[in-house]
Symmetry: C2
Subunit: 135 residues, 2 copies
Amino acid sequence: MPLTLHAQLQADCHMLGMTGDCILLLHKNALIPWFILVPDTAEKELFKLGAEHQNRIQTSINSLAHFVEQQFKTDKLNIATIGNIVSQLHIHIIGRFTDDFCWPAPVWGQAGSADYTEGKLQNIKQALLDKKLIE
Amino acid sequence: MPLTLHAQLQADCHMLGMTGDCILLLHKNALIPWFILVPDTAEKELFKLGAEHQNRIQTSINSLAHFVEQQFKTDKLNIATIGNIVSQLHIHIIGRFTDDFCWPAPVWGQAGSADYTEGKLQNIKQALLDKKLIE
């Protein structure tokens, strides 16, 4: 079965590509670099996946986190599996700045949003391609 | 250097014991089963730890998450590293219920709190000891 994406994730995010067997998304809120990794599984909890699958996902999380920190010169990373509203397993990898729109609060549910320009979106895709983080 | 705990974590949490080389804390808000794992490191980001250390911590996260789900019959786990306010690396392992005080919002910054009774706290410690999750 091919990996299909929950309608809410489709609505909230730009598609960036595949990283390993995960879909990599970019949240449409351009105020912060907010990436979402969607593993290829019907399981809803990361901790219930097998060790080998967890390790593969952890490797992708680590690579993405390093990318976000280096590319956007972030001050802190917030990495989380919540899934209270969208049950499809997805991992938030969010770059934060000490002067961003809702620092130091977590971003979920916070008011404030901005759209990506097509140019900025393409720059992010190209940087991910250059680092071989998406294909 | 022994593992010392950030003053805010000390103020917000009950000490449960050591799980591996992590301190295991229970957030004082008894409305939800909210555990916090504090690894023995000065590094602020989980993704920057070496693979072996990350794997050990992941094993502790998995064990705790299974415990929370089984012990409290939770509907969802929220697992996160935020650290915007308390910079000492700590991992939230939070059991959620579809009828809890702030479902489906994430718990950070939400109003609503209740204290643990001494009996309930001891029950949790005993259950962790029985499962050999703390020593």
